[in-house]
Amino acid sequence: MAAITSDVEVEVRRPRRGVVVGILLVAWVAVYFVLRGIDTLTLGSQETTTLHRWLTDHRDDLGQGNVVFDAIRMTVDQFVVLLQNLLAQPAYGRPVPVIGWLGVVAVAAYLAWAFGNWKVALLTAAGLGFVGLQGLWRESMDTLALTIAAVLLSLLVAIPLGIWAGLSNRAFRVATLVLDLMQTLPTFVYLAPLTLFFAIGPAAATIATLVYAAPPAVRLTAHAIRSVPAESVEAARSLGSTRSQTLTKVLLPMSRSTVVVGINQTIMAALSMVTVAALINAPGLGDTVLKALETLDVGVAFNGGLAIVVLAIVLDRVTTAAGDRPWRTASRRRRILLAAGAAGVLVAVWFSRTYVWAAEFPTSVNIGSRIAVTTSNLTNWVQDVFGGFTYGVRDAVTKGVLNPLEALLTGSPWWLVATVVVALAAVLGRWRGALPAAVCSLLLVATGVWHDSMVTLASTLLATVVVVAVGLVLGVWAGRNRRVDTWIRPVLDAGQTMPPFVYLVPFLALFGTSRFTAIAAAIVFAVPVTTKIVADGIKAVPVATVEAANSVGSSNWQVISKVQLPVARRAITLAVNQGLIYVLSMVVVGGLVGAQALGYDVYAGFTQSELYGKGLAAGLAIVLLGVLLDRVTQAAARRTQRFPRRGDKL
């Protein structure tokens, strides 16, 4: 209600922004040729600054033996172990888990049916059966137990925070900043300290996953609360509801479906952390993948990765179906069926506790090794056929685009780059852009890894541009065509949850050890989320609006460019933001295949205790790059959408 924009917009004629940006860039290039090589703040890969050494020395100061941390650890550990005992590990003096595979499949399918529908119940049973046939039942159950624990704990933290951020503007602003930090700060930066505070074990793995997975739930809960129609809230207030009554009886129930989308994203994020968590002894599929990669066994790694993808798809579809369920209570017939189903489930659970065949997944049929062999053959074939060509592409892109861009960023004096960035931000977003740009630039200098930041920035820019371009094309396509959407979703889910380590090996074969390989990996990881958000945005464009455009004889292209994309602008801004965050969250993985710079620094800090401080600084630099790029694009987006909104009610 308070958002009043006047229809008296004072328009000052100023030169077009494109021209100003162009002049700035040309001027930068010109000055670069004069000042090249001065003040570039280069730091060797083994060199450190005072700050880095100070951070290294004080790494262990926080928390070890802290009572609070211990309490958290104990609780989380017990919770995870309980779930593992139920699903995965032999427990309570028996050689098998509490519930055997038949019971797990029955319970899972039943829950999917009760909260969703019978279609997702079938999918659940099929998915779990598939991972069993892959020969990965126990690993999958370990992963599932850990994921459930991490997701439940995430929600325990995220939903209250999301509600708070949904109700208070100030909390919302703070939360956005913190969430950006949580999502872009590389896990490797806090993985080692976490194991120090929470010890090696399920707790540390769960909490590492939580840090990465909670943000989407917070964001979407806040968004959901904010999207509840103002009139429903006013209606509740006008009848004299207290704050808590409004919250529990109006805001929360009406936010349900959006919150479920958040839960969904949290599950996906949690599953994408499975392999990283395996580095600190988290059991399950991540371990399978990592072990296979020690010997570069792509087939076995893929088999493990595929199981993660299958779990992700099952969990995604079930939660989506649960979120889409209408408000109506179950019909009488359905209630009877549900009761009958519950009885059937109990029978299945009893079987799985009594008979060996229902407790341990049969090993007579194992499609896992066949999947592994087929994958190996396929990747070998791809490498043989495309090997030469892909090197050509790599060299062309690297020499044509990446190297010049990187040279400009790394070769210019730092103050020149900072000035240009702040000026650009000011043109694009006035002070809203310029202020964060200036602060971030200075902090980047302070981290001592300016040069590496610029190398990473060059790759990030290139990757983000490609991600946004591909995401827009795919997203518009999927948003306009239901069938495409149906077919493309599982592929996107795979891209999002397949551990990058799995496809990095073939990528290394195709593109060698290079920054390009890292960029390609980042693109694979970030395109899905961008595509999904764009597709949802396009789908949300009112049918009437599209019909109106068609009725005046617009071509398809005109409908897309003049109607759908502009109307879906908010979604596209979000897609760019998330694309960027996802690209940045792959920086460290990129460091493992030759991206060097910040990603390498972070990983080196993780593996070499003397470089810890530098790794932390590099991790913070990644966050700063993220905040910088995000704030500038957001500010630019805000400027372009400042048309007066006459219809606003006073």
């Binding site: 029955a106 600190i280 570069l296 069926l337 299945a348 290394l508 290079s514 030759g594 060097q596 993780f606």
Partner: protein
């Protein structure tokens, strides 16, 4: 389609009718853990992520379980975190340590939570390697003095006009940047960032006859697949690497050793004696590593196979 809903219920009923056969849980209770020394208890063994280490861990774990009756808990951890575990009591032993003077200083000398437990007998070599085809085609490339002659061959999109020297996983300390500078080589060090990247690079280099110069090390299971050839740098002499900035000689030979937690060493556990006595050769380790990496045996089966063939050595560790 509605019928499908009933199908679920029917299936459950069908299972109830047909499934009432089969073995019951508990009827095939595995024999209680055999072994003599019941006092061993739990033995927390860190497993660092490379195959050679896994070979060590497999054999030690196998012997500790079968001969000592220990309950071995393997923990998959990176080195740094394994050492951290000495302090928190969650790791008892690290079985293959490559140098890591920094960690030794921190955990053995300063925090006094770990103690050295002697050599594994395996000798580690670090250096610069080329794929076999290059050594054949350019025999003199194995001498560092000729590297500049071939620098142009090693140019890539990443090396900025110079020859590329590919470095690996940052877990291993390297002097490569200093070496290139001090030996006045026209090369650029490019960080591949991982062992996976290095191995894949060598594979492609050999297959497509592409030039590659990279940091690598032995023992490594990959030598079973490809016999990489080491480039000879100026000979290592004691102390020639004292100042990391001025180093201009080859890497020292590494005596790979074992480290255990102080608590474990003082516990009197027979597993500690096993770890202390455990010692074998590069060939032994390679045999087990080969079983794991190439023949795809599980670590346990690979260990069993080796132990059967080398019972005498194992008895030696056990003091029999």
């Amino acid at each position: 389609m509605k019928k499908l809903r009933y199908a679920g219920v029917l299936t459950a009923v069908a299972l109830a009718l047909t499934g009432c056969g089969g073995e019951k849980i508990g009827s095939q209770q595995p024999a209680a853990d055999g072994g003599n020394g019941k006092e061993c208890g739990t033995f927390n063994l860190a497993v660092n992520p490379w195959v050679g280490y896994e070979a060590n861990a497999a054999v030690v774990a196998y012997v500790a379980t079968k001969d000592l009756g220990c309950e071995v808990v393997k923990k998959n951890l990176k080195e740094e975190i394994s050492w951290q575990g000495f302090g928190t009591g969650e790791v008892d032993a690290v079985l293959e340590n490559w140098g890591h003077e920094d960690l030794k200083k921190k955990y053995i000398e300063e925090q006094k939570v770990a103690v050295a437990a002697g050599s594994t007998g395996v000798k580690g070599v670090i250096g610069w390697y080329v794929p076999p085809w290059m050594a054949q085609q350019y025999p003199d490339i194995t001498d560092w003095r000729n590297l500049n002659k071939y620098a142009a061959l090693f140019k890539t999109s990443e090396s900025g006009g110079k020859g590329q020297l590919l470095d690996g996983d940052p877990s291993y300390v390297t002097n490569d940047e200093a070496l290139v500078k001090n030996l006045k080589l026209n090369y650029e060090v490019v960080q591949s960032g991982s062992e996976t990247a290095l191995i894949q690079a060598f594979r492609i280099a050999e297959k497509d006859k592409k030039p590659l110069l990279a940091y690598f090390y032995e023992p490594q299971w990959f030598f079973n697949e490809l016999k990489l050839v080491k480039v000879n740098l100026p000979k290592y002499t004691a102390g020639c690497d004292a100042d990391p900035a001025k180093v201009a000689c080859d890497y020292p030979p590494y005596d790979l050793d074992k480290v255990v937690s102080k608590k474990f060493a003082d516990s009197g556990s027979p597993a500690y004696d096993l770890v202390k006595n455990f010692q074998w050769t590069n060939e032994d380790q390679n045999a087990v590593a080969r079983s794991i990496a190439v023949d795809k045996l599980t670590p346990d089966v690979a260990a069993e196979k080796w132990v059967k063939e080398n019972r005498a050595k194992v008895d030696g560790w056990l003091g029999k």
